[in-house]
């Protein structure tokens, strides 16, 4: 198990280096720092002001090789954008935002709280409700509940996330006034009041696909031989579902969670900017509108890190859940 873990972490690190290379190509070689400077400082400043700004933000160095230093001098390769990009990203020193010079890591810390308070419950409630509903539907397979549930899932899957948010905000926020339309508060009991509506919208929009997927997994497991054995032992239908089927179904469910993690990211991004939650999602949206490349680069990097960590976590939980893998 330990060897498996080390190999997995090693491969994860390799992927991180690959992602950084992709980001470097995307954000440094293809875009022109002059434009970023102009956007950050504003159109009315003097040309030397842009040069000054680029210098402050370290955009003025060459890309790969710094010919200013002699061939033997180590700095020929370290005083370049590429090396600087890797060093700072790997040491989590994200520097300042291109748009307004505020320290990115401080804004990340400020944004981390609201983002997690949205994404974690979204993930947990989404998964728990998804599995419960799927169990419920699988339990009543071949009755009209099953057929009705499948049709409803198909319909909810075909509606764009944006429409859920717009109609949700309008119906529940404005007409019914159950929860505040948007906004956030760091005091916990107030935060719950703010997060209720985005969570509701987020869960409902993702529910269709999840329930259909989990139901198929459950029905597949129910038809396996060991379920017949359990019934022959005298297990009641509920015990069969919870003790036997659910435990075995966890394995395919875990593999599918890896696929849903990135959608969690996009979901949070939309929910945060629509509901005014000052999290990493709205920070990214602002970076897009403000052409703030350094923040965007950091967000993509963190997104990738989260995803790789998620993959490793899922593989580990996969091994824990399935003895056949754990003991191999």
């Amino acid at each position: 198990m330990a060897a498996y873990l080390i190999r997995r972490l090693g491969y994860g690190l390799m992927t991180v280096l690959g992602v950084l290379l992709l980001l470097f190509v995307l954000f440094f070689t293809v875009t022109d720092p002059d434009d970023i400077a102009r956007k950050a400082v504003g159109e009315r400043a003097r040309p030397e002001v842009y040069a000054q700004w680029k210098k402050n933000h370290g955009y003025d160095r060459p890309l790969l090789v710094n010919r200013a230093y002699a061939a033997s001098d180590r700095r020929r390769y370290t005083d370049t954008l590429l090396f600087d990009h890797y060093r700072r990203m790997l040491s989590f020193d994200f520097g300042n935002s291109d748009a307004d010079d505020s320290s990115i890591s401080r804004r990340l810390k400020e944004g981390m709280g609201p983002s997690l308070s949205l994404t974690v419950p979204l993930f947990v409630f989404g998964l728990v409700l998804g599995v419960l509903l799927a169990l419920f539907v699988a339990f009543f397979r071949e009755t009209y509940i099953d057929r009705a549930a499948l049709v409803v899932c198909m319909l909810t899957m075909s509606i764009a996330g944006l429409l859920y948010i717009i109609s949700g905000q309008y119906l529940i926020g404005m007409l019914l006034k159950w929860f505040p339309i948007s906004g956030f508060a760091f005091e916990p009991w107030l935060a719950a009041r703010f997060l209720a509506l985005p969570l509701l919208v987020g869960i409902v929009s993702g529910m269709g696909a999840d329930v259909r997927l989990y139901r198929t997994i459950f029905v597949e497991e129910i038809n396996r031989d060991y379920v017949r054995t359990a019934r022959a032992k005298g297990c009641g239908e509920a015990r069969v579902m919870l003790a036997h089927v659910l435990r075995n179904a966890l394995i395919p469910i875990l593999t599918n969670i890896v696929i849903t993690i990135p959608f969690l990211f996009t979901g949070a991004l939309l929910l945060e900017s629509f509901f005014g939650i000052p999290g990493l999602g709205s920070l990214t949206v602002e970076a897009i509108h403000g052409n703030d490349f350094s923040t965007l680069r950091t967000m993509v990097y963190l997104g990738a890190l989260l995803f790789i960590a998620g993959q490793i976590l899922t593989d580990i939980s996969y091994a824990l859940a399935d003895p056949r893998v754990r003991l191999s």
């Binding site: 031989d225 022959a232 005298g234 435990r247 399935d322 003895p323």
Partner: protein, 327 residues
């Protein structure tokens, strides 16, 4: 002969087909005495496995037990039994083992704990006592060093060992009837003999009646007390092992026994029964074996034969035999 332990009367099982529902098992009547081992023999698709599942009321979803079927066990009709009581019988008074030991155990739980569940479901013992009971059961079915094997996972055991665990699970509550649905078909020869010997020995020591479902006459010859031959959803002949293997009267039973390859018959032509078993819903009107029966005559095509007793313990559903007996 005291009252039979289990008696099936006119059991009819139906499944949905293109046009409404068709019977797959058609008015089967069968009895098993206490401690007796009855072998239910027939080609695959004749409905013998479904009959076994119907006894446990575990018929797969679209299937249904149609009236006027009756399944009397210990004097009670299992069909009318309320669900909680039926659940008490499953794994309690009646145990069952299946054909595919490889997939019949829960892959993510230790085998010991799966047997433990079978015990605790019916008898609220303290954990340590139940644990000991499981060790005892594993020993009883011949699993070496049961204390360690308790924590093994199914993928770590061989096919034979897994079938022994299944048997331990089924015998957990000293059932009065054990249903074995082709227990050895998936095992190779050497293990097959051990499992059959285990079943015979358990039946002898615990007095458990065994309903053995198989298509292999070798198995029947090993441990069966009585035999019933099934064809296209009907029982065509039943009798003691000696009678049926010795002098089968129903043409299909005769054909079956002749087609079993025996060392003695080396060099001879292997017998085979021409034609194919008709599928449910397309059964011919009269005797269902008529199209393939060399002795079929006009009555066979029109009328379903009734049971004719050729000895106190042997009955045949065949017009020819009926004719011979009454003539």
């Amino acid at each position: 002969m005291s009252a039979p332990l289990l008696s099936l009367q006119n059991l009819v099982l139906s499944f949905p087909a293109e046009s409404g529902r068709t019977a797959v098992v058609d008015k089967v009547s069968l009895e098993i005495a206490r401690g007796e081992t009855l072998a239910l023999v027939g080609e695959s698709g004749c409905g013998k496995s479904l009959t076994a599942l119907a006894i446990m009321r575990l018929l797969p979803k679209p299937g249904r037990i149609e009236p006027p079927s009756r399944i009397e066990f210990d004097g009670r009709n299992l069909i009318e039994l309320p669900v909680p009581e039926m659940r008490a019988i499953r794994g309690g008074a009646i145990g069952m083992i299946f054909q595919e030991p490889m997939t019949s155990l829960n892959p993510v739980t230790a085998v010991g704990r799966q047997v433990l569940e079978a015990v605790l479901l019916h008898q609220p013992l303290p954990r340590s006592a139940a644990h000991e009971r499981v060790i005892e059961l594993l020993q009883m079915v011949g699993i070496p060093d049961p204390r360690q094997r308790f924590y093994a996972y199914p993928h770590q055991l061989s096919g034979g060992l897994k079938q022994r665990v299944m048997i331990a699970m089924a015998m957990a509550m000293r059932p009065r009837l054990l249903i074995a649905d082709e227990p050895t078909t998936a095992l190779d020869a050497t293990i097959r003999a051990q499992i059959l010997e285990l079943l015979r020995q358990l039946s002898a020591t615990t007095g458990t009646a065994v309903l053995l479902i198989t298509h292999d006459f070798g198995v029947v010859n090993e441990i069966a007390d009585r035999v019933a031959v099934m064809y296209a959803g009907m029982i065509v002949e039943e009798g003691s092992r000696r009678e049926l293997l010795g002098q089968p009267r129903h043409p299909y039973a005769q054909g079956l026994i002749k087609s079993v390859p025996r060392p003695a018959a080396r060099g001879g032509k292997l017998e085979e029964i021409k034609g194919v078993v008709p599928r449910p819903g397309r059964w011919p009107p009269g005797c269902r074996f008529a199209p393939r029966c060399p002795y079929a005559f006009d009555r066979c095509e029109t009328e379903l034969p009734q049971r004719t007793a050729v000895s106190p313990t042997q009955g045949v559903w065949c017009h020819l035999v009926e004719y011979e007996v009454h003539a």
